[in-house]
Point group: C2
Chain length 503, copies 2
């Protein structure tokens, strides 16, 4: 019995990954762990992919529907998509192979607010959850499960699945035990109660996942690392965006609209988000908190420097160097970091109560402040909406960030009309590019347009945006949100035809 499996009954269920994968029936709905490349199963998906590929090659096709927390890694999403083994994928993914299959029509993808997933599964209209495949970092003597580097929807998968396959990953730090806060108080209406969380650091649950032992049909042992990607230093554009965000926050404090220690930060994943975090490390703010989805390298830095007091999230997404740093100091970090189920990390009730400052990246914005977070040129999905809607709608202040151009300047990310909408004008408080910040709060559409064009758009595209807006003022059917509908998407059409939005 491995040191990670301290329960005899569970130890007796250890099998090879191939054997475990054979327990997943054709056509099954499979709930797997994994959030932002952390805590996903490492062995069973590959074995399942092999089985699916063989079945598909043999003329007896076999597919499954795959539900996760959020994005995983090539050895999960990539392998299953490569095998043409996924019927329907939800609620978020970022895998390049899957993206191709989805956009070629070979695979269906349902893009859901991350806080909505658990209740939608309980509601039952997605069908039964046949099998859960969940990575954990260990099993206690009495059979409780020690979660891994992400929590995601694991509680729900284990509760809802008919059968559970566990992957015990001894690569994960043993020090993770005690860091998680698994809340078992959620329910379907009319049996819901207030979620008793009023500070990001509040512990409202238990540190372990609970699973009836009879549900566990297989346990697989692994020692494989998460998809940890190397941390890139922020580039100049990201640093400029971060600077505008920090200026805005500072101004809010000076105007008495934010306390000196701000409000709990939510930060999307990526280069710009990391730059904002890096900027906070240099800034005048102390004793901050974060109530967010993902803990990136920058958050560890802020904890180390004392800028950040507490971080609540549902997953890590660290570089290999940061993982090492974390493992060497896990006991200290455990005082300041909590990992929760994503239904709690992203819960509208809690986000609204805490008053998060939500910062999320986008694909494009239009001159009236509508946001496209997901679709290239209106039709090609990139990743998904993730938790941005959970946070933006309920935030104290919702901030969206993007470089003002893309594709080496061929694309303006500020367009007359977005080609797809994920966040409406009603949910967008502040828009920031490297050019500046547009504070849209309380403004009517025409006021927003002038501010976005002059503060956020790249100077190369400003004349054409002004021209569109002025002509819309004159020629629009209605003047509340002036548009020329035969021209409003012409920038995208031009890009598709000529490879550039430039005149």
């Amino acid at each position: 019995m491995s040191g990670r499996i301290r329960n005899h009954r569970m130890a007796s269920k250890v099998v090879e990954a191939d054997e475990a994968a054979r327990l997943i029936p054709a056509g099954a709905n499979v709930g797997m762990s994994g959030f932002t490349g952390a805590g996903y199963p490492k062995e069973v998906p590959g074995a399942l992919a092999k089985r699916l590929a063989e079945a598909n090659a043999s003329g007896d096709p076999m597919r499954v529907s795959l539900w996760t927390g959020a994005s995983t890694a090539p050895e999960l999403d990539g392998a299953l998509a490569e095998a043409d083994g996924i019927e329907l994928r939800l609620p978020y993914q970022s895998d390049p192979v899957s993206r191709e299959k989805i956009n070629s029509g070979a695979m269906d993808y349902t893009d859901i607010h991350l806080s909505h997933v658990a209740q939608r599964v309980w509601q039952g209209f997605l069908g039964p959850l046949d099998v859960a495949v969940v990575e954990i970092s260990g099993i206690t003597e009495d059979g409780r499960l020690i979660p891994s580097s992400s929590v995601g929807n694991n509680k729900t998968w284990i509760d809802q699945a008919d059968r559970v396959i566990l992957e015990v990953n001894s690569w994960q730090s043993e020090q993770l035990e005690g860091m998680h806060d698994i809340y078992y108080g959620t329910a379907l209406p009319p049996h819901r109660n207030p979620i008793p969380l009023t500070e990001p650091g509040d512990r409202i649950g238990v540190p372990h996942l609970e699973c009836p032992p009879e549900k566990v049909v297989a346990v697989v042992e692994t020692e494989s690392p998460d998809r940890n990607t190397v941390f890139k230093e922020p580039d100049e554009v990201s640093r400029m965006i971060a600077g505008h965000v920090l200026d805005f926050l500072g101004s809010e404090v000076r105007h008495g609209r934010l306390p000196q220690d701000l409000l709990p930060l939510q930060s999307g994943v990526g280069n710009v988000a990391n730059a904002v975090l890096a900027g906070l490390g240099d800034g005048p703010f102390h004793e901050l908190t974060a109530y967010t989805e993902v803990i990136q390298d920058g958050m560890l830095d802020l904890i180390d420097s004392g800028t950040l007091r507490t971080v609540s999230a549902t997953a890590f997404s660290l570089s290999p160097a940061a993982v090492e740093r974390f493992n060497n100091n896990a006991a200290d970090y455990r005082e300041r970091i909590l990992l929760r189920p994503q239904e709690i990390s992203n819960h509208p009730e809690v986000v609204r109560r805490l008053g998060c400052l939500a910062m999320n990246g986008i694909v494009e914005a239009d001159i009236y402040g509508n946001i496209n977070s997901t679709h290239m040129m209106g039709s090609r999905v990139q990743n998904g909406i993730g938790g941005s809607g959970d946070f933006a709608r309920n935030a104290y202040t919702s901030i969206f960030v993007t470089p003002s151009t893309a594709k080496s300047g061929a694309i303006s990310t500020i367009v007359p009309m977005v080609s797809h909408v994920d966040h409406t004008e009603h949910d967008v408080d502040v828009l920031v590019t490297e050019q500046g910040a547009a504070d849209l709060r309380g403004l009517a559409p025409r006021q927003r347009a002038r501010k976005i064009i002059e503060h956020c758009a790249h100077p190369d595209f400003r004349p054409a945006l002004r021209d569109y807006y002025e002509r819309s003022l004159a020629g629009s059917h209605g003047g509340h949100t002036p548009h020329l509908l035969d021209e409003s998407l012409s920038w995208h059409v031009k890009y598709l035809r000529e490879g550039t939005m430039r005149a």
Copy 2:
């Protein structure tokens, strides 16, 4: 001293409306009561409009910014807009004169989720609230205010305003006293606590509005009715839509996804909503509850018939006949009806917890399930988003309803791409027209398109929608949400040019 003003100090402040209106300075931010034509001040707005019109005619222009609960009536919104007296209007309106001014660019309008308004005013970035003008139905001996036929943002206006003008309306039933539940537990973060409401009928506050007497600069007495509009019997199309909604709810109960007494109903205002309520009266459901914004005639019927056990709302919107019925039985209704501030009636925390069944009307939907609730042909605002976003995003099931055509069949309300988005594909569970219902839950965009075209679109428009969709499948940049961007808004362009979307 009138029988409605039982406090001596307040009685000493009674003045004529003209005098009260002179206490409103030029350029002021003015918060007025009023929600769906109920409980708005009847006298001071007209006096203010006269003053503004005179100033504007004299070459010394004067305007105010007007904040309310939601829509009011011609003698408020209409009179002030007619006088060109409104600089900025928020958060919702439905007045025809205002609509013209907004769409001609003469007046700015900020369309805000109704649950967001109070916190945005507290946050302070809309500027100070200079004056509140609030209708009440009486003043108690110790100076507490008995609310009127709507609560809306009145608590916030009174709390935030420098000066308060009260209109005591003795047309309102004295029996309203005790029906309201004013919750004083909200705060700005980081001082927020759970809202202790777990059933629609829970009383969590007090029956009166509190106002420091020194803030009250004037009291005006009135005896004028609300904008009660005559109730129209549902037409055939509305009855068919209602039938599909009721079939859907029945099917959910049979599948075990809804309890027999359903979950708290939220129902938008209008003909279709009333038809659904009428249908519920004939249906198999009993002991229902509603957690909604507005109490229409249909809700009173359901209370009378015993179908509806409890209704929580923020306002009435009754016909004259229903008002009379209410007044004759107010004591009984008071056992079953609560009126709350709109920050509570629409609060995402509460809507999510209760698991509302949200039913709202729309302007148009597209084949992928995106919803336009506000803009005609993408630019001309009709009313506003109101509370539809508060409810739809957080509902247990969000249902959107519309006739499949408008303008005598010239417009298809199911289009290739909506011309404005208020509710994204992520927030739309079920779309219903008189043609049928499309249950979109868990579906990917391509699956949704087929379902919406075949179940919801008018048969006259189905071939053209199928044709667009099939050609998009072949010619789209990406295949997740197939679109031909040079054609996606062409139905709207055609309507603007030719007055019809028909081929």
